[in-house]
Amino acid sequence: MGDFLLKRLAAIIPTLFFVSILIFGLQQLLPGDPAVAMAGEERDPATIQYLREKFHLDDPLPVRYGYWLKGLVHGDLGDSVRIQRPVTELIVEKLPVTLELGTLAMLIAVLIGVTAGVVAAVMKDTKWDYAANVFALWGLSTPNFWLGILLILLFSVKLRWLPASGYVSPFEDLKANLAGMAMPAFVLGNAFAAVLMRHTRSAMLQALSADYVRTARAKGLDERVVVLRHALRNALTPVITLGALGFGELLSGAVLTEQVFSIPGFGKLIVDGVFNRDYSVVQGVVLFTATVYVTLNLLADVAYFLVNPRMRT
């Protein structure tokens, strides 16, 4: 276990190094000059020149990458050109918002997706199975922003139950926080619930037809115990990986959801960063997300160990 962990940890460093080059390079391919984008309506030539110098935009690419890397090593991701605050500060401020959204969405996705998957597998080829499949198809094919707007029109404008958008900190007012998060978390979790459902269903079908399940049944075990303790536990292994990687996907899905619900989180930060050519924001946030993704991947591998004894040899 220790060996395996060390190897995996060592692989993270070169991975992130290549990711950093990729992020930096891709960003520079975007047409548009950040100084011009930032100079606003007036676009005073003196201002543009000043901004270029201030943010080293006139230096050659490798030199600029060097500046960035140097800051990176010192934990400094640079300053946002548009918001005029350090990127690390913005990440610290926005991360809890998006993490909360992602966690709630994941809870909703697991609750709906795994339950529906198990039900569909156990009741294969019944109307419950068909209903779960229709739900999955619907979840996969409904665009986030469209569902978001429909929910706003129903729950905020028509029924006036939930706020249409915005964010309140849970430490300020937990009830208002959850009310504001309900719709975005559902929208974000909904699509992923469909993915989880499909995978849980097929993994469960495989597990239910396995020999050990037949043995368990032959021993006269209660069907609930067979399904939940024997079959589900084995079927969950691939679902856990999917869930861990899916969390990264949820974070990228948050980009659109946060935009629709005006939630000042990571997604909104990155979208506005791209449109304003706010290089350091985009680089910082993407690198951070990549790091989270890589870490989650590692954690998923560790979780395999804990859930699946076959991997411990």
Binding site: P31, R43, I83, Q84, E93, I149, I152, V260, D272
Partner: protein
Amino acid sequence: MSSKKRVLALLALGAALAASFASAQTLRIGLAEDPDVLDPTLARTFVGRVVFASLCDKLFDLDEKLDIVPQLATGYEWSPDNKALTLHIRKGVTFHDGEKLDAAAVKFNLERHKTMQGSSRRGELAPVTGIDVVDPYTVRLDLNAPFAPLLSMLTDRSGMMVSPKAAKAEGEKFGAKPVCSGPFKFVSRVAQGPITLQRYDGYWNKAAIHFDKVIFTPVVDSTVRLANLKSGQLDLIERFAPSDMKSIQADSRLKISKIVEIGYQGITINVGKSDLAQKNPLGKDPRVREAFELSLDRQGIVDVAQEGEAVPGNQWVAPNNAWYAKSVPIPKRDVEKAKALLREAGVTNPAFTLMTPTTSDAQRLAQVVQAMAKEAGFDVKIQLTEFSTSLDLADKGQYEAFVLAWSGRADPDGNLQSHLGCKAPLNYAGYCDQETNDLINKSRMTVDRAERQKLFDQIAARIAKDRPIVYLYHRHWLWAYDKKLTGFRTVPDGMIRLQGMKM
């Protein structure tokens, strides 16, 4: 106490309670974009100005007719040679940190605008060469030449005054916690989220302010912005989509205000920004541009692109503007004449690419233009381009025609010189006609209104002939708000002035 008296006393108590409730109110405003830095010297966005209107008072303000009225300055005089402007500063005004606003503070601010690194005001105040404190409440600005737009510059960010003490202490970071002298003081801002302001008790015009708090929240999607208004999370939204007009009108709880903007929407044509201009018949031949303009029905474009919420126009100011050149009316659509012009120019099927921002109204505009121009023989290719990219391409002259809007300035010069003056920073057309340029420069130096109007008439005639920009229409500023809100003033600059507003 008789029962009648008791009822009266109760009524009086009720009224007093109601009044105290009314004064302890919060106004929640939905903005269409996220403002940039809240430092008047560095600020660069239209939406930032909407917030400044509650936060930072200016030397002068604009009224509904775009006339310049006093705010922090109570009056002004031009010297006989129009090369010096004397300003009288209002007495008894303090900044939000309690510092006094006087002539020295005004001098500090104007110098800050002129010299601070990264200042966006430098260009606006370039003709000002000296700023002198005449007495504690009088300032004199010396100019290198007469400069007619100066007063109107002082109705915008160049005229905003910040606390010198705070500005010196905070330096570049001042915008994170601005200290001005407006009706509301800064409380907090969540990056890309709400900006909260609180009533300033020392405000010089305190009696006109009826809210305790104002919260500006950027909600970029217009559907969601409106949903917030309809569900009661916002009290007032700016710039709602024209397509939502009917649904708002049908809602008995909401009210609408609108006025024609001071900006314009048009098609900028590359006539000399790069070599591309000479490679395309549209950029090369004025007859082709004339044919293009004649192929367009502006009212039709307004009806489709803006659902009728705009007025057709053919100049940098709208036809209802006092500075509009009436001698240059909007040309009527004439497809036959357009075809004849194209034949004369020897290109019966000219093709060009129309660079179009990705906003839905710009896309609709481009599609209508494409269809109309086709009837005269034009082959218009629409190239959807994200805004920052399009500015970059326009700046490098890598485009043929560009759907471009301008938010407008109170003085017509702000819509004209920087866009069509030779080598001016926003002259994406690359237009440079020496005689027109001389006339533009002369109009800037002419303080006499009638004289200036004559110059604008001449400039309008020349621009209408050369067509570096085909002006199409002037949008309506559209606001929707809770019906309980009263005292909303529609000023063509699109700002929200809280003075006199109540709920």
